[in-house]
Symmetry: C3
């Protein structure tokens, strides 16, 4: 694409060589004369001056001396759009690899790509242009919509429904049994795990993350929600739309997470918790059983508290050992008889 | 099964239509006229009144107007037993899938089910009615007892012994090398990891959990113990019988966990820890190197403390910033000369 | 090997039967007359007296009555070297299993061992004596050096470079997409994840650990670094040489970890953190966004603080509820008018 074509796509203004041919995208440091890059913030803009990039996306009011630039409202977002245009999604060869094992009663779209060693069980359905990479297993009755990518060795247990444009990274497990037992007669007896999982459109789930099926109901991951690596989603959890959950976070059974929620890494959420829309949970927080995190609020710590409060507490902790000594001293100086 | 037959199985009393045919189990909200459900506690009982369930298990003294019920001592436990009777364990077609790779010196029971792409190495043994789902790998000399289910892509390293009725969910790794090195000459040298793992009868292990082999001894998971997803069990750990370990908990090398222990999610246990029988470790706790958690006690926090103490500390923390200001004020008001 | 030969290899001094034949290694408790063992510290030395081991490695100044010993400077390290000599690395049958799927444009060394169901994509390269166990997937253009072991079901995404003598345990995922999105028009848009991962020589990575590719740059794991199970390494992280990272630790995007760093289990490292050489991060610590941990320092807690400080804080916490009561009492006894 020519710089001028990219500018047109993005609705931006060119400064410099509009006719230059751009073939890829790269970071400022590694970009060549055929790469598009972007610069946001003063540090990036100073790097931009010495970048070899053929074209740099910049925000309003920013200029880079001697470089070809396109001015846009949101350089990073423009970079994503340009990147998608310059590097269209790789289409995999349609068809079923001869080593795949597909049940005769499964339905696989003619233009889906089914890799080596894939196993598709009875009555499973695979949508158009969806790619199942090597070693993916779809259990009985699983539905996977169109334009999905399931990376190597994803396991989908029976009955799970997956929407369109869903990306599941390698090692993801969807629909394994929830962790539910009844203790009787001196041992734990498995509670029936007969529910399912629904993964809505445009969800992405990171490597080795696990999502358990509902015990009697359904575990739901809402549209557009993004989940990082090694996250645990327990049975009957319901996550709303466009939420973001970072690595190694764990959400216990029957908790509800709203829309546009942000959870940082290693957060622990107890059972029956309500995290309302647009709440933010900082890293390593612990939200205790049955608690509610209010709409739009930010919490941190274990037990999770409003961020302003916990920051004060953490700051005060530095003085706690001194405080103990001072109070001991005050107690000695203020004799009990004095009151 | 007729309602009367279920009542007989459970030793319960029918109120309503004893002759009704029941074919499955479901939650109160989703049950149909052919489903069995259960109601425990006032909230569930109020839901029960409007449930479509064909039969509802209730506790002594509870009645649901206009519904067919069976009165039992423990409705949830009765539900588990009835569910097992109504939905007997699915038996998989016995035999070895043609794409499986089974060493000629391996022994696989004639009624075991070995799925596509399974690899069974030399001298491994697989018991009766055990199911190895797609992509399971059993290393040399591995023993898996009768009536086990290994879900897709479970890896069992050489020499591991697995008892009967064990369930390993997808992505579980049993017997990988422990994390042990000797630092010498400026680098870490791998300490021999020559031990093994023993998984006793009736253990269930969740998706993507990892259990390392002993370095020179054996890592043991005792009978009836249940382990959730993404848990890490290090080398030479010994876990007793009928304990429960929730998701993302990690247990460091050579620690011993007793019988009937309960560990919530994201707990960290240092090396050489002793957690005695019936102890409870609350979520995200950290039990430090070499510590002992006493029999039947409940601890929480990092470092883990008795639950009553840590709850007081967490409550006090809310006042800590104020406390600091008050003490500053007191110090100013009580001049040094005053003592 | 004879005891005398082992002593020669280790540069140690024999006391006892130098001509005894040793065939293996074992712990003091389980060793037989043909096993080598080692004893370090008073507890181990007292065990050594009743051990059946054919030969025991001991430190300078230690003697074990009635046992054959070899005195060395560092018994544990000597044990590792002797173990390597007694049990040379198992060489797997070279060749490509007939069920493996190897692209015609891939290059696999003639003496590499490629197991059942392995998938090697276009232009991938596999070095001499490297073993790819069952179900390993190497994406397009992946390079794996000589003498590596990739255990069952390791996934390596396209373009990743792996050095020599690297060990990747079962379920490891290298090169999955980083967790990067741009929020615009009410939803999260995937930021390009076009970078790569470089794993240098002598790295070992534990089961089900995940290492994301750089977004535009490269995620690097330096030479000799050892990573435990279920660890998360995010995009663009750079880890130096000979560092050690214990289980379930997570390192966020663009953080830099130095050489000879030690991180205990369940540590969380925010984005853009610098952990300098030889720093030690205690278990469950949280190092906040953008922070630096100084060379050689030890930190603990969330937020991470110098270990001496945090230990005092944790000790003081035990008295915090009392402190609150004492200060209340002091406040009552020191009337406001008194100053």
């Amino acid at each position: 694409m020519k710089v001028s074509e990219i500018a047109e796509l993005l609705g931006g203004r060119v400064a410099g060589t509009a006719a230059r041919e751009i073939r890829g995208v790269a970071a400022l440091e590694t970009a060549s004369a055929e790469d598009l890059s972007f610069a946001e913030g003063p540090r990036a803009l100073s790097k931009a001056a010495s970048s070899q990039a053929g074209c740099i996306l910049v925000g309003e009011g920013a200029a880079v001396e001697g470089r070809t630039t396109i001015t846009v409202a949101n350089p990073k977002w423009a970079f994503v759009r340009a990147s998608n245009a310059l590097r269209p999604r790789q289409l995999f060869e349609p068809g079923i690899h001869p080593t795949a094992v597909v049940h005769p009663e499964a339905q696989v779209a003619a233009d889906a790509s089914v890799g080596p060693g894939v196993v598709i069980e009875r009555q499973a359905r695979v949508g158009s242009r969806t790619r199942l990479a090597a070693g993916v297993t779809l259990g009985e009755g699983v539905e996977v919509g169109a334009d999905c990518i399931l990376y190597p060795r994803v396991t989908v247990y029976p009955g799970v429904r997956i929407g369109e444009r869903v990306i599941l990274h390698s090692g993801v497990v969807i629909g394994s049994d929830g962790f539910g037992y009844v203790f009787a007669e001196g041992r734990h007896h498995k509670f029936p795990q007969l529910g399912s999982v629904a993964i809505e459109n445009d969800v992405e789930i990171g490597s080795n993350t696990t999502v358990d099926r509902g015990s009697l109901g359904t575990t739901v991951i809402g549209e557009g929600t993004k989940i990082d690596n090694l996250v645990q989603i327990a049975h009957n959890v319901r996550i709303g739309r466009h939420s973001v959950i970072a690595a190694q976070t764990g959400i216990s059974g029957s908790s509800e997470i709203g829309n546009y929620v942000v959870m940082a890494g290693q957060v622990g959420v107890g059972p029956h918790v309500h995290i309302e829309d647009q709440a933010i949970i900082a890293g390593q927080s612990g939200v205790l059983d049955g608690k509610t995190v209010r709409k739009g609020s930010t919490v941190w710590g274990t037990p999770a508290r409003p961020i302003a409060q916990i920051k004060k507490i953490y700051a005060s902790l530095a003085h706690l050992p001194d405080l103990t000594r001072i109070v001991d001293d005050l107690s000695r100086r203020l004799p009990r008889s004095g009151h």
